[in-house]
Amino acid sequence: MAAADLSRLIEATANTIAAHAEELTRLDQAIGDGDHGLNMKRGFEAVRAEAGAFSAKPLPEALKAIGTKLVMTVGGASGPLFGTLFMALGKEIPAAPDRADLAAAFGKAIEAVAARGKSQAGQKTMLDVLQPVHEALLQGKTAADIVEIADNAADATVPMKALRGRASFLGDRSIGHMDAGARSTALLVRAVAEAIERRA
């Protein structure tokens, strides 16, 4: 991946998180501790601030460095979870991935996130978006389809009962609210898919 492309992806992800920070915070206030929007914004702004240095690295090294930066700056459980997603992706992906490489690396990265959070799909978490996006990648869906699948998957966390994280303390009262991590994951998927699509 060319440096300019990676730099654009970093811009796109930081922009969407900044634009939706208040919404993410509202979602997290409803059933969590209310720090998700601010935490994610801090992390992605920290990545944006060093976009030049990250973009100069080969893709695997760049992803690992971005993951480490997120771990150190996001704080809360989201730091290790989103950080692990990027770090594991960097560990698994080749320098010039094709679609199959990306899908395979993404699958491994999801496993790493599940292990970090001791969670699995169906528990009202970011995994409920990552999993269907991975399946869509494997099935060769278009970027537009993947964006829609991610949005629908985030919506589908609304009727779920939280089994992991702070929201699980609420039991049945977590039902009826979208999971903030699922929403931020869908936002990131949209930003990345659209940025890649524009280049293609």
């Binding site: 501790d33 720090d35 935490n39 801090r42 480490t68 771990v71 150190m72 704080g75 809360g76 459980a77 730091g79 290790p80 979870l81 950080g83 692990t84 970090r116 959070g117 992991r164 994280g165 702070r166």
Partner: protein, 129 residues
């Protein structure tokens, strides 16, 4: 010092410091002890860098037991252990126990020269599963 070290990780610096005070009252300076709390930006939360710093401060060749409060403290502590890496990582264990009771009980066990395994088991007895 050869006794197992204790690290306390809370979302609140006040809870972490208060817990550390209670540990010191029980074991004095017999046990390497460190605490951290807060998101590093003045708010509630936990952060990996501070946890890594606390582990360094309480480091003992006999190992370190970490006591945490809520989910993010556990996730961030596990991340910190992974980033510290081997060979030290295998001597660091994140306990499944209530933070205050766990820290005091684990430190008391550690002050008698117990192994990391024994210290952690004492804390885990407080959380029967």
């Amino acid at each position: 010092m050869s006794n197992v070290g204790i690290v306390i990780v809370s979302h609140s610096p006040l809870v972490a410091e208060g817990t550390a005070d209670m540990v010191r009252q029980m074991v004095g300076n017999e046990v390497p002890l460190a605490w951290c709390g807060g998101n590093g930006h003045g708010g509630l939360g936990t952060n990996v860098e501070a946890i890594m710093g606390a582990i360094d401060k309480a480091w003992s060749e006999a190992g370190v037991a970490i006591l945490v409060d809520l989910g993010g403290a556990e996730t961030n502590s596990e991340m910190a252990v992974e980033m510290i890496g081997e060979p030290r990582a295998q001597k660091i264990i994140v306990c499944n126990a209530p933070i205050v009771e766990g820290a005091v009980m684990a430190a008391t066990e550690a002050s008698g020269g117990a192994s990391l395994k024994e210290v952690v088991a004492t804390a885990h007895e407080l959380s029967p599963s």
